[in-house]
Symmetry: C2
Subunit: 637 residues, 2 copies
Amino acid sequence: MSPVTYKLASEKTKETQHISDISVGKKIPLGKYLFQRVLSAGTKSIFGVPGDFNLPLLEHLYERDLVEQGLRWIGTCNELNAAYAADGFSRYSNKIGCLITTYGVGELSALNGVAGAFAENVKMLHIVGVAKSSAKHENKNIHHLIPNLHDSNFKRPNHKVYYEMVKDRVCCSAEYLENIDQACDQIDKVIRDIYRYSKPGYIFIPVDFVNELVETTNLLVTPVIDLESSLARPDEVTVIEVAQMIADWIYQSGNPGLVGDVLTDRYDATKMLNDFIQLTKMWNFTTVNGKSIIDESNPWYMGLYNGDEGVSTVIDRFHKCDLVLNFGLDINEINHGHYTFKYKPNSKIVELHPTYVRFLDTEYGTERLFKGLNFVFVLKELINRINPKECMFSYDLSVRKFCSEEIKTPEDGNDDAEASTITQNKLSKMIPDYLNPGDIVVCETGSFQFAMRDIVLPPQVKYMSQGFFLSIGTALPAAVGVGIALQDYPNQHINNFGAVDHNYKPRLILLEGDGAAQMTVQELTSMIRFQIPIEIMLWNNNGYTVERAILGPTRSYNDIMPWDWTKLFAAFGDFEGKYTRSTAIETTSKLLLKLNQLKNEGNRDIIEMVEVKLGVMDYPHQLKHMVEAAKVRQVRQ
Amino acid sequence: MSPVTYKLASEKTKETQHISDISVGKKIPLGKYLFQRVLSAGTKSIFGVPGDFNLPLLEHLYERDLVEQGLRWIGTCNELNAAYAADGFSRYSNKIGCLITTYGVGELSALNGVAGAFAENVKMLHIVGVAKSSAKHENKNIHHLIPNLHDSNFKRPNHKVYYEMVKDRVCCSAEYLENIDQACDQIDKVIRDIYRYSKPGYIFIPVDFVNELVETTNLLVTPVIDLESSLARPDEVTVIEVAQMIADWIYQSGNPGLVGDVLTDRYDATKMLNDFIQLTKMWNFTTVNGKSIIDESNPWYMGLYNGDEGVSTVIDRFHKCDLVLNFGLDINEINHGHYTFKYKPNSKIVELHPTYVRFLDTEYGTERLFKGLNFVFVLKELINRINPKECMFSYDLSVRKFCSEEIKTPEDGNDDAEASTITQNKLSKMIPDYLNPGDIVVCETGSFQFAMRDIVLPPQVKYMSQGFFLSIGTALPAAVGVGIALQDYPNQHINNFGAVDHNYKPRLILLEGDGAAQMTVQELTSMIRFQIPIEIMLWNNNGYTVERAILGPTRSYNDIMPWDWTKLFAAFGDFEGKYTRSTAIETTSKLLLKLNQLKNEGNRDIIEMVEVKLGVMDYPHQLKHMVEAAKVRQVRQ
């Protein structure tokens, strides 16, 4: 047995916790305990909106020793935006994105953001300030609470109605604090569950509990709760057995490939997977939801595989693989090309998931399933165990790494007068050049999201998009959350510093649609308020083009009110134009100049809004392809 | 037995339905059926946001005969705003406010607006476009749907998870259409339930059902569904008995009073109640949630009674009443002054509610409860039955009707230099003069809402505010909904035309706070898009002053980013300043001039934004009073 030398990423970034106020025998208010616990889980910034049921809790934000540890409040314009921001914060930092809302009115407003985090495996803690603990015994319809449908003038309302709505549905853990003696354990449980399941968790904290004194024992015994300590530790013999089985399959394979899917990143195994690629030189594929986990600059990057909906040359490559290691896989309609994801016939497959590792030999129809085994431990062991010299890959050397040029669009080679019009297909060729290694891209749900799938990203670019839940409007506040996370954990996403200039300050870029932006536009103000430098590409195509592609191209339901996007920041707080710069662009040549300027200029403190005018019915060929495939499916059914 | 001659309001406004396409034996698509049914329930305008699960349904919006009946789509910037707008639409029109959203992402975003409508007894129909009917048999994680927490790669998700969240919680009725043969009955049931319970209802319509053909029998048999036809008809003998009992108690009373509470309006009995007041000349009181149901210009108006939290002179008046008829009462924390609402000892009380009528004789401790009896029928019978000549009221003639001057504030008589600063107490004295008879006021949740309680409104003013659920940000989109309803049903709120000039076009006025406005600000654009003339008083006090009053007056969590409110419309679509006019005002004198101009000028087509600068810690005495009372309660507990 080889010594386990490979370290998990989390082991290296763990900071010594500074807990000045916590000592044996001392009691502290529950509100303080909660925030200390959030800090101990690695989260410094908390998003949210005040309300009378959470105000006494928010008071504890200002305790000096908590502030010294970096705790801060990021007030957003509304609760949905707070949830989206917390989502972005976690996607970037891999810490827990935390938001605080108030009973009913606040928590319900945030719900769609929580559900999105659930669907996309994002770590989120939603703390809700609720009615005082004695309220449940009272026959009172308190404000923010929905009364009973019948006999509400007589019957006691259900004070836990909102808790019951979310429990076991949009969260992996939900604790309603009802007994002060159990409150600390309940808080710790939710935080551990969030790391363990990489899903949102809820803490419902009664307004009268926050100043009750509680023991600090938990904080002393467990000063840090992080991803690694929250995972169930697997049996080491099993880990070794499984890793060896995978190694053996790799040694037997002539044409292996691996897929880097979304849960790889959520379980902090992104660097490990890229190291594994470098070690083995194995063909590798990304997915819709896993995009940018694999550093696409690696020489063995073979493209984004998405079943029948992907690029045909990528499908060809994928179907050459006689062994596929599918890391962190998440099977859903979007991520698996409307369930057209298929392995090569008679191939071997290893599914590596946070809750299971499964071996499938489709030639012999055999399966071995290891339930309860988190793939992260297996990957760690595999890296230590694999011997590249034993690998006998016989890749077809005429197959090169994937490049965007494999995609042909109608615009290619078209240099006529129309060439000045900006189209999304043209954009998809301009964007890769616009990005520098190490940049961070947040992409809104919408038509251009489809184009981003096949863009080959420069090294160490972090890409974030809500690829499966697909709630438009998420990206704008999520970018605020990413900006806050970048302040708290600069360059957290860069795991290969060789590829990025040490002095380079990564840019945060938001690719946003107009219809989506109208949903959550007020959060632009937080970029000024919290000093988040960002470049916003605002695709102005007069409505919901992604819906027009599906149905109703000229219907009024797909229209929105035309806005002047360049005037927003002046209203939203940059009265003298000190912090922002806004430009509207209509031609390809001007856009190229602008993108080039942004890419190369040293100014990294400004908020940049570029309103890019696009055709109402212009959308990328990938979306066209998907819509056509859907129509074919419909006819078949 | 006297002949029942008094007509319910709904009987008079009922329009002949125009159903050109509906004939015996003909089948129509379910989508068309649904919209025809919505029209038949009196609703022409539908709010919402498109999404791929509702697009095929939205196509039916454009069927010619439906458009001819006035059906139209009001696309809002996001789903929460759509729900708020539908809420405002219903509050004004007393029809059903209808919104359409898409599976998951849309319906969850709207949820807080639906819950608010539930808490405040607002008629709302939420139509959700959901996964196709066969999806439930498929093991697929489709987009917008949250997967299972465990084993989501293997286990079939719950396609009805969102339906299960809302059912029996935030709606009075929820039908998930799963069998096309029952779909029409299910739709009709939800619409009837909404009228019957005056709460939101849900219809979940699978995307593949909307083009399935259904029978038109229901539309032919029941061409109209309205409030009256949806109520369970009571036994006539009981109605007469109850009405006579009330009449007898009135005849025996020397000092009777009545309360006009919120459900009076929801059950369309506002005009009846005001007629009853004119008939009997009985002292009358309004409530927080019922404000403006009683025309406050009547000579026997005695103020807003809200338990200990109201004005002391009003409390005195209320406690002189030896009989109180409480019409449409809704008992909750806010509406009953934190449960300090008390009747005079040894008095008689009649509670008149949509689901019961209760007689209480507190002197003898006797009670008679008529369950299942809707007060509307009783009131109608009572008006026909009561003989004013038999009333023997012995009111103290020194008690005059309530006037706002009874409220003393620190500003009274203060003419010094500080007098130029605008305060909320001053505003509360300026607003009544600013209003014309017949105007419509929508007031945001926030500090100024408390001042509005005791303002005596001019005749026939309709006032709307979310007084109990208290979700900030509701009023702005709700005002859009009111504006749309005003287009569909002009002057619907005026039931005494003698008090309003026949040629007068009522103004729509929104009283809005800055913190609240930031929540839902994008919906300002809909005022331009749908040509809604409105006057917006934007109280700019740099944050959540209503929360500062409670806790954290200088805390950052109560801060918001300062905006230039006068620049918003230029970005939101009025590029050349044609449709809007925006002004910022800092002094009392300038504000008085502006209010006077708005009150008197003939221009009723413009959108007017008046940004009124207020002190950060300035709030009306009513809020101060409530906060102090809450502190006393806290100490006592």
